[in-house]
């Protein structure tokens, strides 16, 4: 990837992270930790990879995106706003009574949201249905999903994996946002599904393990995904709370909003990272 392109993506992802903090702080609720961990993946998909049109969000041949870990809605909304699906000011209305920005993604009212999700395990099955529909009816679009690592504890994920593998749904790519934390503790402490690469492979998927914050690796994995004749699971090692110092790897920031002071600190940190990037030459 060209350095200038990568820098542009890094800048966009920082703006997305600022949008996440803005939304969650304004709502006084929401899920910042897992939103920050998948920000680079979703930014890359919407800015560099998927066939989408913010001016025509329902166009029939668009690639589909399903946020199976629906609680990371603040990230999806920030990406959609940054990409031009709606105004960034709307992010401050997150979770408020008259806002379209529901606590979890709502496909009926939010431009750019392809599937309503929030109850873990269901989104990946919906993505499988979309991929099956495309294959059956000869539509050319691809389907992308992002799952949480804790979400893999839902049995339905493996029902979906079994079906997708058996049907050879090569138009389906699922990222696993592997930040190693869930509400009650680390994945190992709670109920680990590891080794997940071996499990997906056993269900006839192709797997790729990457650093989920490295745009070169995200790009390479998506390129590789297009060459295989199977569904693809990209296991993205990530840091929960990425880019906000006090949220990084801290389980208590799974589903809590920063107070005014910590909000200022987070925005200052993100702004400083943004300034640093913009200051650097290419």
């Amino acid at each position: 990837m060209e350095a200038s392109v990568k820098k542009e993506l890094q800048i966009t992802a920082l703006k997305v992270r600022m949008g996440i903090i803005e939304g969650v702080h304004s709502a006084k609720a929401g899920h910042p930790g897992g939103s920050l961990s998948c920000a680079d993946i979703i930014t890359y998909l919407y800015f560099k990879h998927m066939n989408i049109d913010p001016l025509n969000p329902k166009k029939a041949d668009r690639d589909r995106f399903v946020l199976s870990k629906g609680h990371s809605a603040p990230c999806l909304y920030a990406v959609l706003a940054e990409r031009g699906f709606f105004k960034t000011e709307l992010l401050k209305t997150l979770r408020k009574p008259d806002s379209i920005l529901q606590g979890h993604p709502d496909m009926k009212h939010i431009p750019g949201v392809d599937m309503s999700t929030g109850s873990l395990g269901q989104g990946i099955s919906c993505a499988v249905g979309m991929a099956l529909s495309a294959k059956h009816f000869g539509d050319k679009f691809n389907v992308y999903a992002v799952l949480g690592d804790g979400e893999l504890e839902e049995g339905q994920v493996w029902e979906a994996a079994m079906f997708a593998g058996n049907k050879g749904l090569s138009n389906l790519t699922a990222f696993i946002d592997y930040n190693n934390l869930q509400i009650d503790g680390t994945i190992e402490e709670v109920n680990s599904a590891a080794p997940i690469d071996k499990k997906f492979e056993a269900f006839k998927w192709h797997t790729i393990v990457i650093d989920g914050h490295d745009f070169d690796q995200i790009e390479a994995a998506l390129a590789e995904a297009k060459t295989v004749d199977k569904p693809v699971a990209i296991i993205a090692k990530t840091t929960k709370g990425k880019c906000v110092s006090y949220m990084e790897n801290a389980v208590n920031w799974h589903g809590a909003a920063p107070n005014d002071e910590l909000y200022e600190q987070a925005m200052t940190e993100l702004k400083a990272q943004l300034d640093e990037l913009q200051k650097q030459g290419v």
Partner: protein, 315 residues
């Protein structure tokens, strides 16, 4: 009088899918390893390329159906009522109901008349569960004729539809001239003393009860309610006003089904006695379907008793 045919409503479901499959190729059919029983197997045989077996994974099947519908395509998915409405309730609520997607759920083997498989497979709660989902349409056909028409109507309907079918062969009570419309009840017999509002296989019992009551000098109106949600309040309230007492008859728990829906409508707008006949807050059990319907009191004679109770309650 010509001989009455006995056909399970699930067979009407299967036949209608085959007819529709011949007319259009824009929908898919899913099942969860019960195609031979649900009768989607008829469609599978004719159109194997448009049929997908999801295996024994109903939750995944329901959400897959939602995903297909989200791409703008029609889809029918089928399992037993217990595993569709029961096991996959939350998938139906969140993946299909909340986004109001065009998915047809063909739930077969509902309630007591499943017979020998017993309580674990006799879903007496599915109508209650499905009624609680905003925007869900619920249709419980009375016979093969109505089942076929309901499948066709569901295919044209905008929004999710739960179709409820039985395993047990029941008399075909409606002729080829029968008109079906989602959300419309049908008055099958006139009457002024009381109204029997029945659904599913209890419609035929209600017609028999009408005859038994006539011999006792009681003039009972009979109304068929196939669409339990949205309920045809007009025909229900008309019955309340004109006959002053109602008996509901359903092969489902007395909690949350047709009886509850009718009671809610009547209580709020024109209170008259409503006496409910159904499964009395109990589990089913194994046995031949016909015997179980006798034992669980789901027969014309039981309707007659309830009618007498309802009339006694009239002010």
């Amino acid at each position: 009088m010509s001989e009455i045919k006995n056909v399970a409503t699930r067979v009407g479901f299967g036949k209608a899918l085959v007819e529709l499959g011949a007319e259009r190729d824009d929908f898919l059919v899913l099942d969860a390893d019960l195609a031979a029983a649900t009768q989607t197997g008829m469609f599978k045989k004719e159109f194997p390329e448009r049929f997908y077996d999801c295996g024994i994974a109903e939750q995944n099947m329901i959400s897959i159906a939602a995903g297909i519908a989200a791409t703008g395509k029609k889809v029918v998915c089928s399992s037993f009522a217990m595993f569709a409405a029961g096991r996959a309730f939350e998938q139906i609520r969140n993946s299909i109901g909340y986004p109001h997607l065009n998915v047809i759920i063909g739930a077969t083997h509902a309630s007591i008349s499943v017979g020998e498989d017993g309580a674990t497979h006799q879903c007496n709660e599915d109508i209650a569960l499905m009624r609680s989902i905003p925007g869900m349409t619920i249709i419980n056909p009375a016979d093969e004729t109505e089942a076929k028409l309901a499948v066709r109507a569901a295919m044209e309907h905008d929004g999710p539809v739960y179709l409820r079918f039985g395993r047990f062969a029941v008399p075909v009570v409606f002729g080829d001239d029968y008109k079906f419309q989602i959300g419309k009840g049908v008055e099958l017999r006139e009457g002024k003393d009381v109204t029997i509002i029945a659904t599913g296989l209890m419609v035929k019992e209600a017609l028999e009860a009408h005859e038994l009551l006539k011999s006792e000098g009681i003039d009972a109106r009979v109304v068929n309610i196939a669409t339990i949600k949205p309920l045809d309040k007009e025909i229900v309230l008309k019955a309340a006003k004109e006959t002053g007492a109602i008996v509901t008859a359903e092969e489902h728990s007395i909690i949350g089904g047709l009886g509850s829906a009718v009671s809610e409508a009547v209580c709020e707008e024109y209170p008259v006695p409503v006496v409910k006949l159904g499964v009395n807050d109990t589990f089913g059990k194994s046995g031949p379907a016909a015997q179980l319907l006798d034992q669980f009191g789901l027969r014309a004679v039981n309707i007659v008793e309830k009618v007498k109770k309802a009339i006694a309650l009239k002010k």
